[in-house]
């Protein structure tokens, strides 16, 4: 405000060259309304100007794909004429400013994306990253972000069935709050957002429009957070899940009654982006009368109305003859609805106020003509991230397991997920902690017999990606697929959110480039298409960038919910086996972090084909009902996986680690080393023996007792009573967040 010397376009985040291009496309200087609209549509958040070229590498075709990137959410076929629509999105910067409302509105936004395609939302997952919990700010952010997610999801009646949570120093200044939503629809109900039919009416419905988040897309989402954060605060948006619940039911009823030509949610950049994208997809134009938009605050300027990010609003295109019926359905749901414009064949977005044209732009210029930039990737010559702080001294494996189980990245997530309703809608077959993936019932195709289900998981360890952007991202995709395999599900599609620092910096460009390459290769290797996603860049604070954090969400299907896998050891006397092409290694592991070791430059090589093969074998065994438990090996390696299997089922285990050395680094590596492709399985011995013909599988022990006991070389044993393991694992997070 004080800095009047800055040209308006620069204050709005446009470069001089971009501004000149706008002038060229318009054939004149833009007025204030047009400039504000261009600045939003040409922001990183809306135009993907630093990532679009890269995203082209991702495979977007697959046998189950129904709707790929480009719509509000992608969708896959789950059989019986049903589709699952899903997408993940970030709300990082708003959550850093106001964590409760930022996270809440993040959930609200991703739910709107799902019901905008005509799907009834059936699940939410959250993916969270904060600084270490010994910082008061991180505890505050965690508590309020979790509170906000629960508030929104619980109140709207959509279960939050899973998620992930990591604490690492580089997120201290810049937390990540990503939310994923899934919805269900019949194939023929999937709705697209293209505006068609000149003369059709544009109806805005939902909450009133206020001065919320004005400038949010360009200011909040596309600039690094710095000292001036306080100025950005008046734009805080308040989530109203009650309004969204009505909006959701209303939207779904409008679609059920086939009253709509197309439907679109209002997210970042509000009316500007929703209307111009509807027009662009339909290849048409729109006239919008801003003076008809119902306002929450008097005296709003046309540009404010066009860029307001007030939540809980939708836009639809309706044939003139059906407008009254649409308004009646909205009235039934106590949802304000107003005809605010018309579809035209002009190819222009015109903004009118009091009958006067106050903005007039070619739709194509707004939506498609933002220049796309090439990244200048360059591998950094020196480490970007400082070594984690050392918190574990010595190399006693007994202490190490307890320290790992109690560490914030590994400890029981119950204090967080208990704040979410995971049951509403009566579909939840596997709740958090029951299994590696959440499992949801699909409607029964017939009265008798098997009930098909879907499984979903969300993963991505930023620290592993920071060590090796390519392999770390491959691991994230493989981990998601492994989680699905453990419940017996076959992956159908994947969504992702790319959370990175400033892409204009060569080392960040390199991370982004390598990560997308890894994701593309992993998706191809698994034959899983990318159905959509989101990119969040400029996640940097004064102390540097976040860990590069591609978050991957994957949806799969299993034929029989009754056989969905579990992770806990279930029956005393069952055999325990390690399976899969797992090569444990300590650099970059959770143990290395606790020991304060610097991040390695690169992770060890992966045999993706062998990992895929192991996942398929595990999945089929789970589906045949032959395994009593299946759990993949991730943070904390085999020892942590074993402890989790014990605690999950309430049974101890005796496991033979002879050959791993009795002490020293080699034993630590065997027990706590990490890598992709490992599973801990339990079941009747003959069933496991049959698997050994198909994949690498070693019998290692037996379920039973009330301790986890490991036999080491020379007959030494390591033993932890279950109660000791449980208390370490339960206290880790509970102590930190109270």
């Amino acid at each position: 405000m004080s800095d009047t010397a800055v040209a308006p376009h620069r204050a709005l985040g446009l470069t001089d060259a971009e501004y000149e291009l706008i002038v060229e496309k318009l054939g004149r200087e833009p007025n204030a309304v047009e400039l504000s609209m261009f600045s939003l549509m040409w922001s990183e958040h809306c135009a993907y100007k630093h990532s679009k070229k890269l995203l082209g590498q991702l495979p977007i075709e697959g046998p189950y794909l129904l709707m790929g990137p480009g719509e509000n959410a992608g969708a896959v076929d789950v059989g019986d004429g049903l589709a699952i629509a899903f997408k993940v999105e970030s709300h990082n910067h708003p959550s850093a400013v106001e964590p409760f409302q930022g996270a809440a509105t993040g959930v609200g936004g991703i739910l709107r994306d799902v019901f905008a395609v005509g799907a009834r939302p059936i699940a939410v997952l959250d993916s969270l990253r904060f600084g270490e919990l010994d910082s008061a700010r991180s505890r505050y952010l965690l508590e309020h972000a979790v509170g906000g997610i629960g508030h929104y999801g619980n109140s709207i009646g959509v279960p939050t069935i899973g998620g992930e949570l990591y604490f690492e120093g580089p997120y201290e200044q810049n937390c990540l709050v990503n939310a994923m939503a899934l919805g269900i629809a019949r194939h023929d109900r999937l709705t697209r957002s293209a505006a068609t039919g000149p003369g059709n009416v544009l109806v805005l419905f939902g909450a009133l429009t206020g001065r919320d988040g004005i400038g949010g897309a360009s200011v909040l989402a596309s600039a690094e957070l710095g000292d001036g954060d306080a100025d950005k605060r008046p734009t805080v948006q308040i989530g109203d899940p009650f309004a969204e619940k009505k909006l959701m039911e209303c939207s779904l009823e409008l679609l059920d009654r086939e009253l709509l030509v197309s439907l679109q949610d209002l997210g970042a950049a509000g009316l500007t982006s929703s209307s111009s994208e509807m027009a662009s997809k339909g290849g048409l134009g729109l006239d919008i009368h801003v003076d008809r938009v119902p306002l929450r605050e008097p005296g709003m300027e046309p540009f404010e109305i066009m860029v307001s990010e007030s939540q809980e609003r939708m836009l639809c295109v309706v044939e003139p003859a059906r407008v009254d019926e649409v308004l009646a359905v909205c009235a039934k749901w106590e949802t304000t609805a107003t005809a605010i414009g018309e579809v035209t064949d002009s190819g222009r977005l015109r903004v009118l106020s009091g009958g006067e044209v106050v903005g007039d732009m070619p739709v194509e210029a707004l939506v498609d003509d933002c220049p796309l930039y090439d990244l200048k990737p360059e591998k950094p010559s020196a480490p970007i991230y400082p070594a984690p702080r050392r918190i574990l001294d010595g190399d006693d494996p007994r202490d190490a397991l307890l320290a790992l189980l109690g560490s914030w990245n590994v400890a029981d997530r119950r204090p967080v997920f208990e704040q979410y309703d995971c049951l509403v809608q009566s579909r939840t077959v596997r709740r958090p902690d029951d299994a590696d993936a959440a499992v949801l019932l699909l409607p029964a195709p017939t009265d008798a017999g098997e009930r098909p289900a879907i499984a979903v998981s969300i993963d991505g360890s930023g620290r592993r990606v920071a060590c090796d952007p390519y392999r770390g991202t491959v691991e994230a995709v493989l981990e998601c697929a492994a989680n699905l395999a453990c419940v017996g599900a076959e992956p159908l599609g994947l969504t992702n959110c790319l959370n990175f620092g400033n892409p204009e910096k060569p080392h960040i460009a390199w991370q982004l480039f390598e990560s997308v390459r890894g994701m593309a290769d992993a998706c191809r290797a698994l034959d899983v298409p990318v159905v959509g996603g989101n990119v969040s860049l400029y996640n940097e604070g004064p102390e540097g960038p976040i860990y590069p954090t591609p978050v991957v969400g994957m949806v799969g299907r299993l034929p029989d919910a009754a056989r969905a896998g579990r992770l806990g050891f279930a029956v005393a006397g069952d055999a325990i086996a390690f399976a899969g092409p797992f090569q444990p290694s300590l650099p970059g592991s959770e143990l290395a972090k606790l020991r304060g070791e610097p991040l390695p430059d690169g992770l060890s090589e992966l045999d993706v084909a062998a990992v895929r093969r192991a996942q398929e074998v595990v999945r089929e065994a789970v589906r045949r009902g032959e395994l009593r438990s299946a759990h993949d090996v991730v943070e904390g390696g085999l020892a942590v996986a074993l402890a989790e299997c014990c605690l999950g089922g309430g049974h101890g285990a005796t496991v033979d680690f002879r050959g791993a050395g009795a002490d020293g680094e080699r034993l630590l590596e065997t027990l706590f080393g990490e890598g992709a492709g490992g599973f801990v399985l339990s079941g009747p011995r003959p069933a496991l023996a049959a698997l050994a013909r198909e994949i690498r599988l070693t019998f290692v022990g037996e379920v039973g007792g009330d301790a986890l006991s490991l036999t080491l070389d020379g007959g030494a044993t390591l033993s932890w009573p279950l109660a000791e393991l449980r208390s370490a694992r339960e206290r880790g997070l509970a102590d930190a967040i109270g």
């Binding site: 106001e98 805080v236 308040i238 309004a243 106590e334």
Partner: protein
């Protein structure tokens, strides 16, 4: 001796107030017409030894200055202290 202080916390002007809206909608149905501009906030009452620090308490804990305004009102001296 400590004083009883009353803090009124309300949504900042222009910030969405879903609770206020819900109450405003409910009242006419109960036969109360002629009601407008309803806002719902929080009331915090406390005995403090040093009333001069209440403003700071509001900034740090009692209110969320991003989205809420607060007002400090003196109540009667606390009984019993």
């Amino acid at each position: 001796m400590s004083r009883r202080v009353r803090v009124l916390v309300r949504p900042k002007a222009g910030i969405l107030d879903p609770q206020g809206q819900a109450v405003e909608r409910a009242l006419p149905a109960l036969g109360f017409d002629g009601v407008a501009n309803v806002h719902v906030g929080r009331l915090i009452e406390l005995d403090v030894e040093d009333p001069s620090r209440v403003g700071e308490m509001c900034e740090k804990l009692l209110a969320n200055p991003l989205i809420e305004d607060y007002e400090i009102v003196d109540a009667a001296p606390a009984h019993g202290g």
